[in-house]
Subunit: 793 residues, 2 copies
């Protein structure tokens, strides 16, 4: 079943059937003021923090699952019939109601046609502003004059903190004050001096009536599908003190045949009449911004901003799904994970307010080439979330983080992998930007003391060295990358151990580039030492074990009944280079045999149903093939692509890529269910009837690492200090592909040809007409615009 | 507007219009397995803990506000038309759908008639059992044969912990497993070995189809108002692994004209097929309990249990509202606060899982005569929540409390009043039961050491003595009774000071009865000492101040702009006896002048809009006349009744009683909005347009103290060590009243006559035909049944 299509020219996904299997959402705004919006205009918004700055309320896990939202009702005043500008919440029969939803980058447009009235509702948050536009154009397509009433409905959270609003009702139901004056609904409370006022106004038509009291607008025993005010054609002009507020403004449009009229609603934070904390008043926002011209201008600013972000890497391959994803939606998703971490979605209710350490370090990987300056800021921040011991704070809260003054976690609370992601991300940043001096920047640790960035990296390695187990491998601590597997302070994780090995290699490389020879030698010694331990204890005969418990029991061993083979240790054995080429090939073949499926690669096989002594397996709460219990955890699928590329096996890398590529399911939405333009956290695996259904879209490490897997490994464009390395690993069937990429402010137009249909191996590169040595396009030879012809073979 | 009536004979409140202004609820079950149910069958249930044992899910603050719930759908298979056994969730027009809801004690009955089909749906949790009955009788009142499909719908929480279920969706949406076998829906997860299985079965008809997957039953973009399964007349026989589960069983009834058929659904905790933790299997529950006879028997057990509880005090006064409340609903509410503390309602989402110290001590007061044994257990528990310093743990968690091993709060965290309620409650228990030896029982403190109950009482006084401020009054600490007023460790609370004085008097009295003369003298000295401090610093000229800040600023003083006069300090000045009679009269006159209104007595006047230096006023989050900010906080209204009775002013006491008596609003439900049979936490005060609307029904200290105010002060039946003291203080207009009361296992039939229309003062008591001296009916002269004639004058 197909519900929409990719409109790459407009950088939109167009939903032609609004009754999608799950809510298909889009993101709006910036980290100043952001929100999400579904294909039925459900969703919420917030100021600065999804958890602590809630503006529009959301009731999670509801039926329908995305209510309330940003609702505009239309009512034919002659007949009394009414509908909504998005299909839901009124939900007219789709036989009579035509709907097209355009999710664009930073905006969504809802086009509807019903009863010979056409409407176009556009919603977005202008660049750098703390308000949102809801603009509605109504057109009379009939041959008689029509009187159409328009009503807005915004259900405003009573409290800024999502949990206070949703749970602490004996308090939060009694704090709100909402009144109408100066042509706007004004909602305030006294809970937070920094953010206590909202306004909701309308321009382009006269306000005929209003409601600020939610239950007056809706009526008792009614829902957003049938508000009494809309049914009756008039609001009650209610205010509210206590209970729940809303913002409903009602206007009446008289349209002769063929006539159109646009009304513009704005919802913003701040006072209706006074500027506040540097933000303009609602009155001035209405006057300055709420005109059709300004709205179009602001929309074009957003579109331009995204074009600038995304133009930094555009591809043209034989795979149109890949193109749509990499050029638009996948790239957009990597920015969303960078912006919102794991804090804002229909699944993330608001509790994860802060930056998970490992999430954040990995999220930066995919956007470094696009927005290096914000990445550097974030990198600085997250480096100051490393403690002087070398491990990471599990959570860094940007709005309240105090480097040098945080309490370091107890050793049991550290995740063993958190700061081991830093060598990968920092070297990627240094190689992308060429800014080797970044390594000399001095930054504080979270708890005390400070060090250069290079010192931070070394300390990350030292933390692992300080926490080795009895086999000389790295302890798993509270968790490694897999939050549901706990080896504690005695058991060892092969995953972490391989990541540590990779870190040693990368830090050694940076040290050599800096001329820190003794540091480089130290790193290399550490790598050799741990490799010897891996050789002695890590190989299970056909693959690498996942970990070794304190009592010697193994996870991911064929001697087990369950969890015989795990994905994470084997892909990282190959990626890190710690495994021999033969071991890497053998273990990745075992992955293919035991873990791969038509919908992606499972985390382990068979899934667990019983405890394993000595290993904390909190994944036992999940049925087999769910989430971490042998589900297809998409983040780790990206590493399978990388590992196969490291092995030069492009066909298999591409097979893995296609198996979980959302766009591939565009015409099979009943299988994937989630948005076909977005990666999910996981897909139900083969041991459940839900096999193939995907869940937790948008905010997942899948976005960043799959982007890296495609662009740096499949297409093979890897930044290096001296230039852009080109090392594709593609399906043999491809004739080639093209990439336009920004690199250190210059533009490279890469044309890769695969005349002999190999899976990889660069035969020759011709840069601006001149053959170059090797496969690194030298940065110092780049013009502003460059053409690089790459011949594989 | 009137929505129902009191049916005192059946001990039911009968709702004749289901579209009440707010949800009007009832409580079901015991502390083993409990629940709430609204007049539209909305609500939830839980095992042992409202917060941590959630069974049926609730989405709080929704529209409509009480969904989901316990839903039974009826469908005319000939026409396809469908409705629900409760008005909502389908919500047919009330012009065609007739509904009568009978909230009884521990059960609710939903009678409906629609399309010539009558249904009666009864819901309750049998005594001592961990399952709930949903029994439906369908009657064909038409003259043609009818085929009626019946569908159940229970939306089962994914996780036991309410917050995990409602918020942590990236986890809780993937743990559930629900299947159909052995004639039952079986829902399980692996989250909590102590409580991981539920069953839902049906007896009395064949199961035709079923759904265990919520979204399959409802259908996408539908709600409980229009499930696709019901619309189509058949479930899809779905199971679920992950996402959300439900329990829907579908059966078909063929009814000839006039025929009735009963089907019985059961939802319980445990395995369908095996006994578990001492609870029977679902199979055996179905076999043993799911028959019409057994159901009727179990219902009669509940009714008998409540009759036994409530018969312990029954009244007959000229005020029929008072009679309905005291004889049935008000008494029932006091048991609900005793059972559920502040943890289970449509407002209390689940976070308050535990016993607030002061709430709990006060909640016992009203049920001591009815259920002395559970009260003694609770008293033991709460005494072990006192720390060795003498203060109270803010929260005592019965399921996990470890006396002797809890961490004592920091001094800043103590509430100054918590353990000062003990002297009142312990002496009430001793006087009710005559069990003076209870004072010798040795119980541990929360943190360390132990003492006799008498020792605990002394230590409560000592805690206050240890925390006096510079005026010699008692410090307010984190809060006194009013959680929104914080005087800290330096400022002093007059409220707490008067409560301390009252405590000294009561402990002295107990000491004298025990013969602890030096303790008695110590208490009396402490009382005199603090009284001198009150005389020196507490009087504001016309009333007592509320408190004195560290810097000398006063709350509740006429020198203020706001918060000039407060209720709490003045009522307790009178009640405690610390004020002179003249002061008491004068300050209570000031209360009447400044704080009293037609809907109750406000907490302060004028309400606050600005901070007061040195006093923590978290009430500033509330608009004026809301909650603690000058709202009518009903709990404290009960003290105004007591204070007036202490002064002998029965007319005014009764005026206060009537002003917030819920039953008084039975024909004015649009004003009170909440249930007319239940006290609320507060009523919006006169400075808001919502004046008179009442909020947060059921779980409030209002229940217990108002019951005490009516029974012990207005009607004047006060237990004493030697017998039952009779000291009514009634409106002069009353000719008298009658009470039947159990006292120490004997029954006293009291007939009070007021021939000269006084407000109080006992002229003579004739017990079983014999005049007695004084106004205490001597316990040692009681027969099994007694008649006491009391003449006022």
């Amino acid at each position: 079943m197909q519900y929409g299509y990719f409109d790459d020219a407009r950088r939109e996904y167009v939903i032609t059937r609004p009754d999608t299997p799950k809510s298909w959402i889009n993101y709006l705004g910036s980290r100043l003021y952001g929100g999400i919006i579904t294909q039925n205009a459900g969703g919420y918004s917030f100021f600065r923090s999804g958890g602590m700055g809630r503006i529009l309320r959301m009731r999670f896990n509801g039926v329908p699952l995305d209510q309330p939202g940003r609702y505009l009702y239309l009512r034919d005043d002659a007949s009394g019939d009414y509908w909504s500008a998005s299909w839901q919440p009124v939900g007219k029969s789709l036989e009579t109601y035509r709907s097209t939803v355009r999710h664009g980058l930073g905006y969504s447009i809802f086009e509807s046609e019903y009863a010979q009235i056409r409407s176009e509702f556009i919603c977005f948050i202008p660049r750098g502003q703390a308000f949102e536009y809801w603009a509605l154009t109504v057109t009379n397509t009939s041959s008689t004059p029509r009187q159409i009433s328009v009503f807005s409905y915004a259900e405003l959270a009573n409290e800024w903190h999502f949990r206070q609003d949703l749970e602490n009702l004996q308090y939060s139901q009694y704090i709100v004050q909402a009144t109408f004056h100066d042509g706007m609904i004004h909602r305030r409370n006294n809970t937070n001096p920094g953010q206590n006022e909202l306004y909701f106004g309308l321009a382009g038509a006269e306000i005929v009536s209003y409601d600020a009291d939610r239950d007056t607008f809706l009526g008792n025993y009614r829902t957003q599908s049938n508000p009494i005010a809309v049914e009756q054609g008039r609001c009650a002009n209610s205010s509210t003190l206590g209970d729940n507020s809303c913002a409903s403004l009602h206007t009446v449009l008289n349209l002769v045949p063929g006539a159109s009229h646009q009304v513009i609603f704005v919802l913003g934070i701040g006072s209706p009449t006074q500027s506040w904390h540097g933000l303009p008043s609602g009155k001035s926002i209405l006057a300055e911004y709420a005109t059709p011209d300004r709205l179009n201008h602001e929309l074009s600013l957003i579109q331009n901003e995204w074009r600038e972000h995304l133009d930094t890497l555009q591809v043209k391959t034989p795979d149109s799904d890949l193109n749509s994803m990499i050029n638009v939606w996948h790239a957009y998703q990597t920015h969303m994970t960078f912006n919102w971490s794991r804090g804002v979605s229909l699944v993330e209710a608001g509790d994860r307010d802060g930056l998970g350490y490992r999430d954040t370090v990995q999220d930066m990987l995919a956007v470094t080439h696009s927005i290096p300056t914000p990445v550097e800021e974030r990198l600085d921040l997250i480096l100051t979330g490393q403690t002087s011991e070398g491990g990471g704070m599990p959570l860094v809260k940007p709005l309240s983080h105090r480097p040098g003054h945080e309490k370091a976690p107890d050793i049991e609370q550290y995740r063993s992998d958190d700061t081991l992601w830093l060598p990968i991300t920092v070297s990627n940043f240094v190689f992308e930007t060429g800014n080797l001096a970044y390594l000399d920047k001095v930054l504080p640790y979270a708890d005390k003391n400070k060090a250069t960035v290079f010192g931070h990296l070394k300390q990350a390695l030292q933390f692992s060295i300080d926490h080795k187990g009895k086999n000389g491998l790295i302890q798993g601590l509270a968790a490694d990358w897999n939050d549901c597997v706990k080896f504690g302070t005695t058991g060892e994780s092969l995953f972490t151990t391989f990541l540590f090995y990779k870190g040693c290699v990368l830090v050694a490389e940076l040290a050599r580039l800096k001329g820190f020879e003794s540091d480089a030698a130290w790193c290399e010694t550490q790598a050799q030492t741990v490799k010897a331990s891996i050789d002695a204890a890590g190989w299970d005969g056909e693959w690498f074990v996942r970990g070794i418990s304190a009592t010697g029991g193994k996870l991911g061993s064929k001697s087990n009944h369950e969890g015989k083979i795990y994905l994470e240790s084997n892909v990282w054995a190959a990626i890190s280079g710690a495994a021999s080429r033969e071991q890497a090939r053998q273990c990745m073949d075992a992955v293919h045999e035991h873990l791969a499926s038509e919908h992606g690669v499972a985390l382990c096989e068979p899934p667990h149903t019983e405890p394993i002594p000595g290993v904390g397996l909190s994944l036992l709460v999940y049925p087999p093939s769910h989430k971490e219990n042998g589900g297809i955890f998409c983040h780790s699928n990206s590493w399978a692509i990388v590992a196969e590329c490291v092995l030069g096996r492009g066909d298999r890398a591409y097979e893995y890529y296609r198996s979980y590529l959302p766009a591939r399911y565009n015409a099979q939405a009943e299988i994937h269910q989630a948005e076909p333009y977005v990666y999910c956290q996981f897909t139900y695996g083969k041991h459940t009837p839900r096999f193939g259904e995907s869940r937790n879209p948008w905010l997942t490490g899948t976005a960043s690492w799959t982007y890296v897997a495609v662009t740096q490994y499949l297409l093979g464009l890897q930044p290096a200090l001296t230039g852009l390395k080109v090392n594709p690993c593609i399906p043999a069937a491809w004739d080639g592909f093209e990439v336009r990429r920004r690199f250190r402010g210059k533009w490279i137009n890469l044309k890769v040809e695969n005349p002999t249909h190999v899976q990889g191996g660069v035969k020759q590169i011709i840069l601006n007409g001149n053959p170059i040595q090797g496969n690194i396009i030298p940065a110092d030879q780049l013009l502003d615009e460059n053409v690089a012809q790459v011949i594989l073979g």
